[in-house]
């Protein structure tokens, strides 16, 4: 892994994927690009984690997939959020907020 770039925090990959997919149907490659871009190159999602995660989320019924043409006219697998996936995302986000607040609190008092 290149210097200065972190692997996605353990346990948050699912949430990030769900969030990115929530913006509209998107294929795997674009998901990894998007995460990298939005995080200003801080996060990099290795393919070895991304695809198993996508398949797992689809298997759970949080994502659904469809084969469609890309702008360049190629067939690609586009993922979109299901209703259950939306619920899951909001639940994970609430969790995350609570967690990060707690972490911030601990860090600030520790000083």
């Amino acid at each position: 892994m290149e210097q200065g770039k972190a692997e996605v925090l353990k346990g948050t990959l699912d949430m990030l994927i769900l969030k990115v997919v929530a913006l509209g149907p998107i294929h795997g490659y674009a998901i990894s690009q998007r995460i990298q871009q939005i995080s200003k190159d801080l996060f990099q999602v290795p393919e070895g984690s991304l695809y198993p995660a996508l398949h797992r989320l689809e298997d759970r019924g949080w994502l659904q997939a469809k084969w469609e043409e890309t702008e360049t006219g190629r067939d690609a697998k586009f993922y979109s959020l299901t209703r259950a996936g939306k619920k899951r995302l909001s639940a994970e986000m609430v969790n995350w907020e609570r967690l990060s607040e707690a972490v911030a609190l601990i860090l600030s008092t520790a000083e």
Partner: protein
């Protein structure tokens, strides 16, 4: 469809799509690199690098999906069957061992279930109790009777506070004349609520209702299934017909189903206890005739039920002035459950056998675990290879579990087959006495479920340990090792040795149990009875056909029986014939006695039997003093007595018994007996077992049968031929004197002994020794496999030893010593456990001590011999090993 089921069936398409998806990603990445200014070649290299292993990513994607787990599971099964088929010998032994364990356990469970859980078809039979009047005096507390007088029954019924319902019945002979002849059936008077009490609906018609049996109502009766089939071919039209029974016309109102044996009769009459009603005049003069059974109110315990009835009976006894013939000096009423009353001690035998069979199952499981461990160890290398190829530990454990589950499934099938055959065999040797007749012993659904759960349990027990072992072992070490598993070998070896030691210990417990049972049975069958049971027949005669009290005078009875015994004595093949009342080894009624010139003590009791002059000769009793009876003594009904040695020892000690005069108090209360009569002792004869096979001989006096008209008699005869072959002839002789006299019971004394004394213990012996034998065989396989495996592991070492000059004998003793260490450790534990456990069995083991040294040393020797034999084969293979081959063994 997008679901996993759809994907399961479109596997190829799914694979293709996965491939396309990932390739698309790769190509996009390459394009981006090219756009960033890399050469096409460099872009491809970088993209591939970033991707890591494409195959690994694919596998991870597959693992993320459910349907692939299902697929893996199916594949595991295929794999399991393939690898089991490859190692057929292993699979057969394992399946066979488990199946034996499952089969034997299922058989015992079936029997126990049928006898203890579901023996009767009766309603709420667990709350049904039977009362026992127990004497509290020396020499020990003893059940006196289970039958009660009419006033007792009525008082208990009216005054009790603890019963929901109470029923009474008594049995009697019923003569049925159909115009052509007269037949005798066993009938019974039952209180009118008797059938509702048991709650079994009739097969045809109705059962008694409260009005039946009242004075002035029509006579009715019911019939059991067996009699209906045997006498009337199951013809339903006989319902409502009138039959002449005991001289009275009675209408048949109901027929009971096959699974009903309430009150133990073939015919039932309703009994209403109001004065003058049918059945209130007893057919015999014994006032204690009514057997009663009661259902306790909910929430009433047996102690309260006992105390309640105890008070009632004591009150009644006092009001009547405590008549001696009905009430012992000190007595108490006790309850027993109906089930306990019927099954009794036999329950203990069954529980002991269940314990034995559970040990057998444990041995079988241990054995299979051992075999699986041996296999796992040998396969360590295979598993290590698979682990390094990317199989996850969970996957490997699962696969091994599937393999043992496949074994268990096969074993369960085979076990059910064994159980089916075993049940057939067992039912054939089951003693009939202690098991209710309605009990149906068979494979029932509960039993099958039980067998299945044993199989699953066995799978877990046998499968988990080896599976975890294989996975926990360091795969690198296993790969570097010889492929025979030298890596985890040490640990596995310990576990396996532990298993063998446990198996040996369990097997020792089983063997000592069986050995003790055998010893006890041997003791039982080789008791010196004091008479020779071989070639002796008995025939109990009943003259009740002429009405309850025909032949009731002593003179009439004497003539009849003398004629019969003389005719029997003349039959070809008969050596000697005599009249008696009892059938040895159950002999004579008990009576309190008084001796002239001595102050009587309350516990002076003796057995009394009536006999003719050839009695002593027929039984082969030795004359110790004086003389036995002469023809004239019998003919003139002289008041003389011959006593046994025990009588002389207890009551006369050093005195001369001859000429002493004894009175038997029981006679004072009986009809047609000499009252206040003293009998002069003229002789003393040797003892014989007169209170059963196991009890010491009790004091007994023999009197001329001609003194009384009371009591039916038995003909005893020694024969020169097989006694059973003469039974028909004896019957003919009896009929030629009086065609209406019936033989109620007859056979050879040997058969009588078997039925009454031997079948129950024999059942225990056969069952335990079968279990112990199977257990021993399984342990042998266990020892053999563990030793063979140890030797295989040590081939290298043995090769070096031999190459360095060790003698073959040294190698042989080395291996044998290892085996002996295992065996003796197991034996030590087993013997200790047996010493503790067999104590619990001591009630089941009359005639032998639970710590019988002979049994223990026999078992130890047997096991040593057999165990060493099992070690011998691997040991000899080891000693014959060629050092060159052994060193190249890798």
């Amino acid at each position: 469809m997008n679901g996993w089921l759809g994907r399961l069936f479109h596997k190829r398409r799914t694979e293709k799509r996965l491939d396309a998806e990932l390739r698309f990603h790769l190509e996009q990445k390459v394009q981006d690199y090219v756009a960033a200014g890399f050469s096409a070649e460099e872009a491809g290299r970088r993209a591939n690098l970033a991707f890591g292993g494409l195959e690994q990513v694919k596998q991870d994607c597959r693992d993320a999906r459910v349907e692939n787990h299902v697929q893996d599971f199916l594949r595991d099964f295929q794999y399991a069957f393939r690898s089991l088929a490859k190692d057929r010998r292993f699979a057969l032994v394992a399946v066979f061992a488990l199946a034996l364990g499952i089969g034997a356990t299922t058989v015992m469970f079936s029997v126990l279930y049928a006898v203890v859980v579901d023996p009767f078809p009766y309603r709420d039979f667990r709350r049904a109790v039977v009362y026992e009047l127990r004497k509290l005096d020396a020499p020990r507390d003893d059940a006196v009777r289970y039958h009660y007088t009419m006033p007792e029954f009525l008082a208990i019924r009216e005054q009790n506070d603890v019963f929901e319902e109470i029923v009474g019945n008594y049995q009697l002979d019923v003569l049925y004349s159909d115009g052509k002849g007269t037949r005798r059936f066993l009938g019974g008077y039952v209180t009118a609520n008797g059938f509702e009490f048991l709650g079994v609906p009739p097969l045809l018609g109705r059962y008694f209702s409260p009005g039946d049996g009242k004075p002035g109502t029509p006579y009715v009766f019911m019939m059991n299934f067996t009699l209906w089939q045997a006498e009337f071919n199951g013809d339903p039209r006989i319902l409502g017909k009138t039959f002449f029974l005991n001289g009275k016309p009675r209408t048949l109102i109901g027929i009971m189903p096959k699974r009903f044996n309430g009150y133990g009769s073939s015919l039932w009459f309703p009994m209403d206890l109001s004065p003058g009603a049918d059945g209130t005049v007893f057919p015999v003069k014994d006032p204690t005739l009514i057997w009663m059974c009661a259902r306790l109110k909910k929430g009433v315990g047996r102690p309260r039920a006992s105390a309640d009835v105890d008070a009632i009976v004591h009150r009644l006894a006092q009001a009547q002035g405590n008549p001696e013939e009905i009430y012992p000096k000190r007595f108490q009423m006790f309850t027993r459950t109906l089930l306990d009353f019927v099954v009794g001690d036999f329950k203990g035998t069954l529980y002991a056998l269940l314990a034995a069979v559970s040990m057998l199952l444990l041995i079988a499981c241990g054995n299979v675990a051992n075999l699986l461990l041996a296999r796992a160890t040998v396969r360590e290398r295979e598993i290590a290879v698979r682990a390094s190829m990317g199989a996850s530990p969970a996957r490997l454990v699962r696969q091994l579990l599937v393999e043992s589950f496949a074994l268990a499934a096969a074993a369960c099938l085979a076990g059910c087959l064994f159980a089916y055959l075993g049940l057939k065999g067992l039912v054939a040797i089951l003693p009939r006495g202690p098991i209710p007749e309605e009990t149906i012993i068979g494979m029932n659904p509960a039993v099958l479920v039980f067998a299945l759960s044993i199989a699953v349990l066995a799978t877990l027990v046998c499968g988990v340990a080896p599976a975890l072992h294989s996975v926990r072992g360091n795969s690198l070490l296993a790969l570097a090792g010889s492929g025979k598993g030298s890596g985890g070998g040490f640990r596995h070896g310990k576990l396996r040795s532990g298993l063998v030691i446990a198996e040996v210990a369990l097997s020792i417990v089983l063997l000592t149990g069986a050995g003790l049972m055998m010893r006890s049975f041997f003791a039982l069958t080789h008791v010196d009875l004091g008479f020779k049971p071989e070639r002796m027949l008995y025939a109990r005669i009943s003259t009740a056909e002429h009405g309850p009290f025909s032949y009731e005078t002593a003179a009439k009875k004497k003539v009849f029986y003398e004629q019969v015994v003389q005719r029997v004595a003349r039959l070809p093949g008969v050596v000697s014939a005599t009249i008696s009342v009892g059938v040895p080894p159950l002999d004579g009624a008990g009576s309190e006695i008084s001796i002239l010139g001595k102050s009587r003590s309350a516990d002076w009791v003796s057995a009394v039997d009536l006999c003719s002059e050839r009695y002593f000769q027929t039984l082969g009793l030795r004359l110790v003093r004086g003389r036995t009876f002469s023809n004239t003594d019998i003919d003139s009904a002289l008041h003389l007595a011959v006593i046994n040695e025990e009588f002389a020892r207890i009551y006369f000690g050093a005195e001369n018994p001859l000429g002493q005069k004894i009175k038997f108090n029981v006679f004072d209360q009986l009809p047609e007996t000499p009252h206040d009569a003293y009998f002069e002792v003229v002789g003393v004869v040797s003892n014989f077992r007169n209170r059963g096979v196991l009890e010491r001989p009790a004091p007994e006096a023999f009197l001329p049968h001609s003194i009384t008209g009371f009591e039916d008699r038995t003909i005893l005869a020694t024969t020169a031929v097989e006694p059973r072959s003469l039974l028909a002839a004896v019957q003919r002789e009896i009929w030629s004197v009086d065609s209406s006299a019936a033989v109620t019971q007859s056979g050879s004394i040997q058969d009588f002994l078997s039925e009454f004394a031997y079948t129950k213990p024999q059942f225990g012996v056969i069952a335990t020794s079968t279990f112990a034998g199977i257990g021993l065989a399984l342990v042998l396989v266990g020892i053999f496999s563990v030793m063979a495996y140890t030797v295989a592991l040590q081939t290298h070492e043995i090769g070096i030893r031999i190459a360095l000059g060790a003698q073959r004998r040294d190698v042989l003793t080395m291996v044998l010593r290892q085996g002996l260490r295992l065996i003796s450790a197991g034996m030590l534990i087993g013997v200790m456990a047996s010493l503790g456990l067999t104590r619990l069995l001591s009630r089941q083991l009359p005639g032998v001590s639970a710590t019988d040294p002979l049994t223990y040393s026999g078992v130890v020797l047997l096991f040593l011999a057999v165990g060493l034999t099992a070690c011998m084969l691997p040991a000899r293979r080891a000693s014959r090993c060629d050092p060159l081959v052994a060193l190249h063994y890798e």
